[in-house]
């Protein structure tokens, strides 16, 4: 066995476990004496709780407890928190209403948690929940953001006009001045549709309490178990951190929705002590629709100012962001600092000004979902750029090229300092792969068959590698976003990597091991990756924002440097040479210029035998840790091209070709990266063509199952043509930029730009379902008839 190199398309080590049913998910965990929780949820979008009568439910044989918000309050259990403070334009802090894990006095969305029934088995808990009588005083629902800000109905007393914040970024005066001298202004109204995350594995939790050691254990579907422990300890007050262990075992997809600390896991771990039994809860799919934090839901008016040649002078954006009924863990940051700093796109825009109102409505909380703010920004930029090019009669690729950032580093007017990129290179390669030259011919062929063919571009950029701690701290984040790693080399030379990152589909067990194998020369099957357990792994920040490569692996890289340095010292004693003369290459420590060398495994063994040196000179053992704090965000960027055909008779859109050229910097495992791109595009296409969460005027979620909420399927997608360009990221030791969110960020504007190209007008919103497209076709037909 030899080392596995960086850049090799190694098959995923974890897949055998997953595809043979050997994965250990939270719902697979069963503790002795385990009981089951069922949540009584509000059927009303907005109501006071006049009384809760649980007498009949408690009398059901097998019921152990029925607990409410009053019990939480009596035990002084704190509310759920929002960890990112946003300030209003006038400098005052945002208005965050209390968010108890079980409602106290009022419910604010359909699915809000009113009580929990804990019973011997799930069926008993569920049946007994039917007997909990809640007397509601129904209040008006507020679903529409424009209606919310009138303040006719107040959701949280702290925010009388239901506005959480009114925030801005950029230079208003400079932007206004640029608009004043513009030769052309393009205006666009944009709705970014609300999405339900739909991870394959629904959320679940098992709370356990050992009265002997006063130790709590929470098994939960989390992307960041240490952050969950920190919040549950320091803010919610379940137990001090050393008395609370949080384990996030195999997790079946998150897409952001499992970053947050939710009511259900809080209640399970608290109730475990209360009832003296382990308490398990697993969401059914309807609960996931109702209570997983939703994504997106922006309404935006954007204006782009240009000079006579089509050079962009300024961008002005006004966005209303629906935050739902409560502020989820990071919800405040998504439409602000994860959004507006990306509004410069790949373009050199001298002035940008963006205003964002975060608004409460009586709907499920909205938080980060794959891309988190950056898809919303990219949709604004790539739609308005495309429309501007059309209005000016310019080729959309030429228009983009004219405005591309060309010199790096590039300081945008909205915080970000782009460090490296070659946007023209990605565009050139994508145009070649997509055979743009012959698009006109293909369009004419489609027209002969009575079909409308369109092509759409998306030259996206995102900020990943989240995030430099000092930078996010200055913007209001409650914690820094560094990452940790520990490399434990065993006496026989096998290696355990303990990482604060968390894998829930990203293939860390493979890529992280691949890095270690390449650097230490140890075969990949002798490297194991340990994550997701606060008792095993040092504090870490978890996985989201495409950060595990750029930040998590950089921490591993730093720890590997230390392992090699220590190994050199051990080798020096054994080989009786100076540590300065030891070289480490291809898995061997060698005295420079001699044939004296030791294999990595031999050095590891010597480090533990420790006969060749005294502990005073050199500590025995071979184990090193590192905390890596990035110095900048990373900036993956690329060009996606969607080519599609619309059948005007039925409104059915068929994606014929998809070209993706991404610059992710250096790539560890191209197969895993390509998989991430495929999945991201599928989710982006889902948003553009199929998905949309809808509440009716009474705040009832009418898309609460797969009967009414359409997810993308294989036959909605073409075979993707995926290519890469490489400009290494200069800010981290591996030159990695991150790839997890790119597809979901790039895809929606590519699809809508292609549809609007085919239609010949801009009037279509996401999801562009066959019905919506058919209606849009009628409009185009009328327009032509009128002409």
């Amino acid at each position: 066995m030899t080392a596995t190199e960086i850049g090799a398309p190694v098959r995923r080590k974890e897949d055998f476990r997953f595809i043979t049913g050997k994965g250990q998910y939270t719902d697979d965990i069963n503790r002795p004496g385990q009981s089951y929780a069922y949540f009584v949820r509000s059927p009303h979008a907005h109501a006071t709780i006049k009384s809760i009568d649980a007498t009949a439910a408690r009398a059901v044989p097998g019921v152990l407890a029925v607990l409410t918000g009053d019990d939480l309050a009596a035990d002084k259990v704190g509310g759920l928190i929002c960890g990112w403070m946003i300030h209003n334009k006038d400098g005052s802090p945002m208005k965050a209403g209390a968010h108890p894990a079980l409602a106290q006095g009022k419910v604010r969305y359909v699915g809000d948690h009113v009580a929990v029934v804990v019973a011997e088995d799930y069926a008993t808990a569920r049946d007994a929940a039917e007997k909990v009588v809640v007397d509601y005083g129904v209040l008006p629902a507020v679903v529409d953001m424009n209606e919310a800000v009138t303040g006719k109905t107040v959701i949280h007393d702290v925010a009388p006009d239901n506005r959480v914040y009114d925030w801005s970024l950029g230079d208003k005066a400079a932007t206004d001045a640029a608009f004043a001298k513009a030769k052309h202004v393009t205006k666009l109204h944009i709705v970014n549709n609300r999405l339900v995350p739909n991870a394959m594995e629904p959320r679940a939790a098992v709370g356990d309490y050992d009265s002997g050691t006063e130790q709590f254990t929470l098994y939960t579907t989390s992307q960041n178990p240490h952050v969950a422990r920190l919040v549950l300890s320091a803010f919610i007050g379940i137990a001090p951190e050393h008395k609370l262990r949080v384990i996030a075992p195999d997790v079946g997809g998150g897409f952001g929705s499992k970053i947050f600390i939710y009511a259900e896991e809080t209640v399970c771990v608290w109730a475990a002590k209360k009832v003296g039994r382990p308490v398990k809860w697993t969401a059914d799919r309807t609960e996931a629709f109702l209570s997983d934090a939703h994504g997106r839901d922006h309404v935006t008016d954007a204006e782009l100012a240009m000079d006579e040649k089509g050079r962009i002078l300024a961008l002005r954006v006004k966005t209303k962001a629906n935050l739902g009924a409560y502020l989820s863990t990071f919800s405040s940051s998504v439409p602000t600092y994860l959004y507006a700093p990306l509004l410069s796109g790949q373009y050199d825009i001298p002035a940008i000004y963006c205003e964002v109102d975060g608004i409460y409505t009586t709907t499920a909380p909205v938080d980060a979902y794959r891309g988190a703010g950056r898809p919303e920004a990219t949709f604004v930029v790539e739609r308005i750029v495309e429309v501007a090019a059309r209005e000016l009669g310019q080729d959309p690729t030429a228009f983009r090229r004219r405005n591309f950032v060309r010199k790096f580093p590039h300081q945008t007017p909205v915080i970000m300092m782009y460090d490296a990129g070659d946007y023209s290179a990605s565009l050139d390669k994508a145009l070649e792969m997509a055979d743009y030259r012959n698009f006109g011919k293909r369009k004419r062929e489609s027209a002969r068959k009575g079909k409308l063919r369109g092509i759409g571009f998306s030259a996206y950029i995102e900020a990943c590698g989240i995030a430099p701690s000092a930078a996010v701290g200055s913007l209001g984040a409650g914690v820094g976003l560094w990452e940790s790693a520990e490399i434990r080399v065993n006496p026989v030379g096998t290696v355990e990597v303990l990482t604060g990152s968390h894998s829930h589909g990203q293939g860390h067990e493979t890529t992280f091991a691949q890095l270690v194998s390449a650097r230490l020369g140890v075969p990949i099957d002798q490297v194991s990756v340990v994550h997701g357990d606060t008792d095993k792994v040092q504090f870490g920040m978890g996985t989201y924002g495409s950060r595990s490569g750029a930040v998590g692996m950089s921490a591993i890289s730093k720890a590997l440097d230390k392992v090699v340095a220590k190994g050199k010292k051990v080798a020096a004693y054994v080989l009786e040479a100076s540590a300065d003369d030891i070289e480490f290459k291809d898995g061997r420590f060698q005295v420079a210029g001699t044939d004296k060398s030791l294999a990595f495994g031999e050095v590891a063994l010597q480090a533990y035998i420790a006969h060749k040196f005294s502990g005073q000179e050199l500590e025995p053992g071979l184990k090193e840790g590192a905390f890596y704090d990035p110095t900048n965000f990373t900036f993956p960027a690329g060009v996606h091209i969607c080519e599609l055909e619309i059948d005007p008779e039925t409104g059915v859109t068929t994606i014929e070709r998809w070209t993706a050229v991404d610059d992710f910097g250096h790539v560890i495992n191209p197969m895993i990266v390509e998989g991430q791109v495929h999945g991201g595009i599928a989710q982006g296409v889902g948003q553009a063509l199929l998905e949309g969460a809808r509440y009716d005027a009474n705040g009832q979620l009418v898309t609460a199952s797969y009967m009414d909420y359409a997810m993308p399927r294989a036959d909605d997608l073409p075979s993707f043509q995926v290519g890469t360009t490489v400009t290494p990221c200069p800010s981290n030791p591996l030159g990695i930029k991150g790839c997890g969110e790119a597809g979901a960020i790039a895809a929606p504007p590519a699809v809508i730009n292609a549809i609007t190209d085919a239609l010949g007008h801009e009037d279509i919103a996401m999801p562009a379902t066959p019905q919506a497209v058919w209606k849009a076709c009628q409009k185009a037909a009328r327009k032509m008839a009128a002409e």
Binding site: V40, R41, S42, P43, H44, A45, V110, R126, A129, E130, K131, V132, V133, T286, F289, L290, D696, N698, Q700, L701, V702, T703, A704, S705, M707, D708
Partner: protein, 151 residues
Amino acid sequence: MAMTMNGDFVLPADKATVWAKLNDPDVLRVCIPGCQSLEKTSDTSFQATAKVKVGPVGATFKGKVNLTDIDAPNGYRISGEGEGGVAGFAKGGAVVKLEEVEGGTKLTYDVEAQIGGKLAQLGGRLVNGVAKKMADEFFANFAKAVSPAQA
């Protein structure tokens, strides 16, 4: 979730008989699918309990039923509000009109209802289907109750 439903039925009885039966709790109790109890609480109101099953959701609804806009014997508005616990709630009403026609009395109904909670989450296709079936069942039962053989 808003739900609307309308239709008409020709009943083999005269208008006065149909009107009387429409106001008779014993008749209504037998005719309403799943109805477990229906007690008159005043001349124009009832207290009702009904067991309803929609797809995977089964629930016992408890609620009040009121009669308004009474125009004897031509019609009324029947409205109600019911809580089904974990299953959700339903509220709404139906405008019922009677008209003499050849062979009996034509009953026209126009339902407008709001449903919430788990019932709404099942989606319109399932709920509307069940509601239509229940309406059909009710009128089939009611037709039997007013037919001369029964009267």
